[in-house]
Symmetry: C2
DNA sequence: AATCTAAATTCTGTATACAGAATACGTTGT
DNA sequence: ACAACGTATTCTGTATACAGAATTTAGATT
């Protein structure tokens, strides 16, 4: 141990991108704060070259803002950003759902049912942690059935920006119950392989999330 | 003049991204070909640092593939890529259309009408160049009315990847006529501020583009 | 005290240097 | 002739060096 957060596997660039993204999403690097290249270099025991490349990558994901000749800053989470991102998230999730409907197998529907059961159980037990994990797994299942890596990549990038906001607030009880109900509908649409309905439900699901989030953030 | 393609304005990185993107989209850098950092550095009279940062940015846009320890290559234009990208493009353009419907002013509808008239005129005159320019302007108008910069950025990045394919083939006469007809419908939906219809038409418009493209590319 | 200006410091953008991995090449043995 | 191996070369990833822009600090002026 030498006090620094030394980095090992793969290329420094890739490792840095992952680490920094986590730090940003989890609020470790505060929105709006200026990035001091040198102190981050010391923190990770790394030179400026890979760090700067990592900042560029994160700028591509919208987590970092780069102003020429005046350095990098952590992107703010503004209401405007969220209002821009959520409809896109809705449209893309809806697309994923529609694609998934066309391709889903009976076995995968069974798996979706099992996940939904777990989701309900977590809600009953008021286990938010478990709920979130299962929720993420359901969305991952849909993405993997949709089988569109490009779509998956874009969703992941958008999701990073939004997760940051979700990290700040917990769901209200009412919102949680509603979310579970929406997930029942999502499952039903999947079982019927009803693209249009699934798309609509997912869009609504996301829109509701935004509303609840903005309310809680008071922005 | 010193034989090199020397670079001036702004930061080298930004300039390089723009130049390289154009070169890739226009086929100047062949899909699948390995990128030789050194020769590109000489070409632009630039050191490796900004060039490598530019390659990273383009990798984020999906135009370049970066394999650790074995360098960069220009991304291929595969049928699979196109089939992944087009539904996303469709969903996003549809979203842009729906947003635009909710916000468009009478003056902007007039402008759309004028552009549509020019589109038809270009088609009559068989002026593909002019047609393409006007076509792009219509899509830009919709994007600007939709007023969602995040969406605009994502569409631009996706569009770069697709434009490359379009660059390779010209529209067939039949497809061209159909495209003009679809644009009539787009205008009509805009005039009625009918979100659902505009979304549907745009989705179809994009889907047809893909079909025609794949057919012509024989992939 | 407040404002303006100028020197000093910090920070960014770019170039260059260097070590180790990947690749190309030639040699040897069969 | 061909395969396997070892060497030489090229190329990538990272560190460091340096010039000029931006920012801060200190001092001068009103």
């Amino acid at each position: 141990m030498d006090g620094t957060d030394h980095i090992g596997r793969g290329t420094l660039h890739d490792e840095l991108v992952d680490r920094l993204r986590d730090m940003i999403v989890e609020g470790d690097l505060a929105p709006g704060s200026k990035v001091n290249e040198q102190s981050l270099c010391e923190r990770f025991a790394v030179s400026r070259t890979p760090l700067r490349e990592a900042l560029r990558s994160l700028a591509g994901e919208g987590l970092v803002v780069l102003r020429p000749r005046r350095g990098a800053a952590i992107a703010e989470v503004t209401r405007q950003d969220l209002e821009e991102a959520f409809p896109i998230l809705g449209a893309l999730e809806a697309l994923a759902g529609e694609l998934a409907c066309q391709k889903i197998t009976d076995a995968e529907i069974d798996r979706a049912r099992a996940l939904q059961a777990r989701l309900v159980a977590h809600h009953r037990a008021e286990d938010l942690q478990g709920y979130s994990a299962t929720n993420a797994e359901i969305h991952r299942l849909i993405m993997s059935v949709a089988n569109n890596p490009t779509l998956a990549r874009m969703l992941k990038s958008l999701d990073g920006r939004v997760r940051r906001a979700r990290y700040l607030v917990n769901m209200s009880g009412a919102r949680w119950a509603a979310a579970v109900a929406e997930h029942e509908e999502i499952l039903a649409a999947l079982e019927d392989r009803d693209s249009a309905r699934l798309g609509a439900v997912l869009k609504l699901h996301i829109a509701n999330k935004l509303a609840s989030l903005c309310e809680q953030l008071e922005i």
